[in-house]
């Protein structure tokens, strides 16, 4: 990436600012046990704490840095990545509005009408309004385009609609005010029959959010039922029947490949080296078969494998900036989500 010297100086200055601010405002230990990841957030007390933290970061200019001012951002392209790196470095709590920042915001930015952007983006960036994603359905998992939740004209409000359907695996819906929604508006064509809307889900008629219990015993995702739920045409992103293309914008960003960088707490690659060091420190304090765990060959091999893997991911990020060293322009960016997912699930064999 070739950047202007002025821009580089401004970025350096911003990094120093972030570092100083984070040192001064590092939050005290949380009064509640914090979840490991945004989608593990289960209790209102956890939410309150994390929402307050996102608000402070937003007020300080560490969230939404790359978004234009009229949408509640700071209008400084190329700054958000720096803020993310510094937040990871300082090991601060994650930003709770994960679906909002990562998926909804860039989709709204690229596809919503001007008025809607001005209304929705500022409270999204500040974390005041939490977002969720209504893509998956019981019958359409891997095959996303087979979505069945549907709209029909609202007899009471011409031009608007009523929504019926069943969404599932909806992370954070139990706290969300808004949902990004992929819905069927025509049964004639699989892909061209889809449309994309944003809908309110909290205290909105005909919406039922039911938590699903995960194998960990926690909730964090839900099923969402819609029964004649009113949906305004003004909440539409893109033309009717163009929902698949809009959804592709969302998915591109969900996989970390979009140009509007958003902080997702622990999901970024920037803090990886800290994890390995943390594990080494932990292994030093533990004993295994009567000896320090650091002397156990199995522990050593696993830590080394993790160190190699995580450094590889960090170096992927650097190599992604060298066009000459890539085999396909999207190949490295698209791996960000996979790598992140594997970290949540544990170390894979290869």
């Amino acid at each position: 990436m070739t950047s202007h010297p002025d821009q580089e100086a401004a970025q350096r200055e911003f990094r120093e600012y972030c570092r100083a601010w984070l040192t001064e405002h590092r939050p005290p230990p949380a009064p509640v046990r914090l979840p490991q990841h945004p989608i593990e957030t289960m209790t209102r007390a956890q939410l309150d704490y994390l929402q307050a933290w996102q608000r402070r970061c937003y007020d300080a200019g560490l969230v939404g840095a790359d978004y234009p001012k009229e949408y509640g951002g700071r209008g400084n392209k190329g700054f958000q990545r720096i803020a993310n790196e510094e937040m990871n470095r300082a090991r601060t709590p994650f930003l709770i509005n994960m679906v909002g920042l990562g998926m909804a915001a860039p989709t709204i930015f690229h596809h919503a009408q001007e008025e809607l952007k001005r209304e929705l983006l500022p409270p999204l960036l500040s974390g005041e309004q939490i977002w969720c994603q209504g893509f998956s359905e019981p019958g359409s998992g891997s095959d996303l385009a087979s979505v069945q939740a549907s709209l029909r004209p609202d007899p009471a409000s011409p031009g608007d609609y009523l929504l019926n359907g069943h969404k599932v695996w909806t992370s954070l819906a139990h706290f969300a005010q808004w949902m990004i929604l992929l819905v069927r508006t025509s049964s004639d064509h699989k892909h061209k029959g889809l449309s994309y809307f944003v809908v309110p889900v909290e205290n909105h008629p005909g919406v039922t959010v039911r938590p699903l219990i995960k194998l960990t015993g926690e909730t964090g995702f839900n099923e969402v039922l819609f029964e004649d739920t009113p949906v305004k045409d003004a909440w539409r992103l893109g033309a009717l029947g163009e929902g698949w293309n809009v959804a592709m914008t969302t998915l591109l960003h969900e996989r970390g490949a979009g140009p509007l960088v958003t902080p997702q707490g622990g999901v970024g690659s920037e803090g990886l080296a800290h994890n390995v060091q943390g594990l080494v420190s932990l292994a030093r304090t533990l004993r295994r078969n009567g000896k320090p765990a650091t002397e156990d060959p199995h522990v050593r091999a696993r830590i080394a494998a993790l160190a190699i893997r995580e450094r590889g991911i960090v170096e992927n990020g650097k190599r992604a900036r060298a066009a000459a060293l890539q085999d396909h322009p999207m190949r490295l960016p698209l791996q960000v989500k996979l790598a992140g997912g594997e970290r949540v699930l544990g170390l894979p064999k290869s």
Binding site: R300, A301, A304, I308, E315, R319, A322, R331, L332, Q335
Partner: protein, 380 residues
């Protein structure tokens, strides 16, 4: 140079492009097959491939000069250019002594100035193929016990014993031999054809490589053919050899990945392309991720060595370990996903599978390098 990540500048890209073009026109798989078929032993590649003319052309493209300092008459490109070359060699499964010779060129660069160094540079620039002969029969990659002994009756050294797992033994003109001398270990440069030196070719799985055992029976070496530095010099320069092998595995694995993806798109079962099934897609994605991490580590390590960065050794171990894992995983899946045809000589997959297997083990397998990473990250 911060605007060229890993120091991979335009010169590097040009150098790689010229190598790629050369290989595309000289090293098609049909050429490889024909060459392999020439040896009466179907499991061996003739040492005469590539031809003398082909090697000269490669020299003209600066393959070896790129590793030699400008002051000695070389081109001295960043290491990124050389790992990029090795990546192309792997992608084309090209049988040549280029990687061994580059390993020796890097060793010469680190040696102290003197007659031995100057002579080595001169011969390498003149097109001599060279290789390391530093291993004992156990394949101990620590290179501790040496089995080539020396006595020094007058002035020079007299070598006796054997060196094993010598790459390109059948085609190298110069051997850098690890010798247990009267006063510690030494590295002696011994020309092929020296009186008392015989080369015995090994049977190996990799059809595109060549390996042998050297037997020394009172081989005389003059004092000025000894590189000062001994084991310390060897240890310092081994990371370059690991990186060339790692880059080769990245290239070979990439070929396997792309070829298997293409196959998965055309091979149909139950009226569907097999690539439509996630059971097929997922391992291919995993291979891609493993290869990409290996590639990033290779370039990061190459640059770190150029810069003399403190974590250069760590990165080099990581690169070899990760490349070996990626190569093993990709090679196995490529054979399996090709189904029955993957098991046949007819499919080209086996050339790359075997080349990767050879590279995986050479100069330390994944486990060896992983253990070194653990020593550096946790402490020995």
């Amino acid at each position: 140079m911060s605007n060229a990540p890993y120091g991979f500048n335009d010169d590097c890209a040009l150098f790689r492009e010229s190598a790629r073009k050369f290989l595309a026109s000289h090293a098609g798989l049909d050429v490889l097959r024909r060459a392999a078929a020439q040896d009466p032993d179907p499991a061996r590649m003739p040492t005469a491939y590539p031809s003398e003319e082909g090697w000269q052309q490669a020299q003209e493209l600066g393959w070896i000069a790129a590793a030699i300092p400008e002051a000695a008459g070389g081109l001295q490109l960043p290491r990124g250019a050389l790992v990029a070359l090795a990546e192309q060699l792997g992608k084309h499964a090209f049988p040549s002594a280029a990687e061994s010779t580059l390993g020796v060129a890097f060793l010469a660069r680190r040696a102290a100035e003197g007659t031995a160094q100057a002579a080595l540079f001169e011969q390498l620039l003149a097109g001599a193929r060279a290789t390391l002969a530093v291993c004992n029969a156990d394949g101990d990659w620590q290179h501790t016990p040496s089995v080539v002994g020396a006595s020094s009756p007058g002035g020079g050294l007299t070598l006796t014993g054997s060196a094993h797992f010598v790459q390109d033994a059948g085609r190298a003109e110069l051997f850098v031999v690890r010798v247990a001398g009267p006063a510690g270990s030494l590295l002696a440069v011994v020309p092929r054809g020296s009186a008392g030196l015989s080369v015995q070719r090994d049977g190996i799985v990799d059809l595109t490589r060549e390996q042998g055992t050297l037997h020394f029976e009172a081989v005389l070496v003059p004092t000025d053919a000894v590189l000062p530095g001994g084991d310390a010099l060897l240890a310092e320069s081994l990371p370059d050899t690991w990186l060339l092998l790692a880059a080769d595995m990245v290239g070979a694995s990439e070929w396997l990945l792309q070829t298997t993806v293409e196959y998965a798109k055309v091979r149909t079962q139950f009226d569907r392309a097999i690539g439509g099934y996630q059971a097929v897609k997922h391992p291919l994605v995993n291979a891609m991720m493993a290869i990409d991490r290996a590639k990033s580590l290779v370039y990061a390590a190459a640059h770190a060595l150029d810069e003399g960065a403190p974590d250069a050794l760590l990165l080099a171990h990581m690169a070899k370990a990760q490349a070996a894992e990626a190569a093993a995983f990709t090679s196995n899946r490529a054979v399996q996903l090709h189904g029955g045809i993957g098991f046949t000589w007819e499919s080209d997959v086996h050339f790359f599978f075997k080349r990767n297997k050879h590279s995986e083990l050479l100069f330390g397998d994944a486990g060896y390098h992983q253990a070194k990473v653990a020593d550096l990250v946790i402490g020995a």
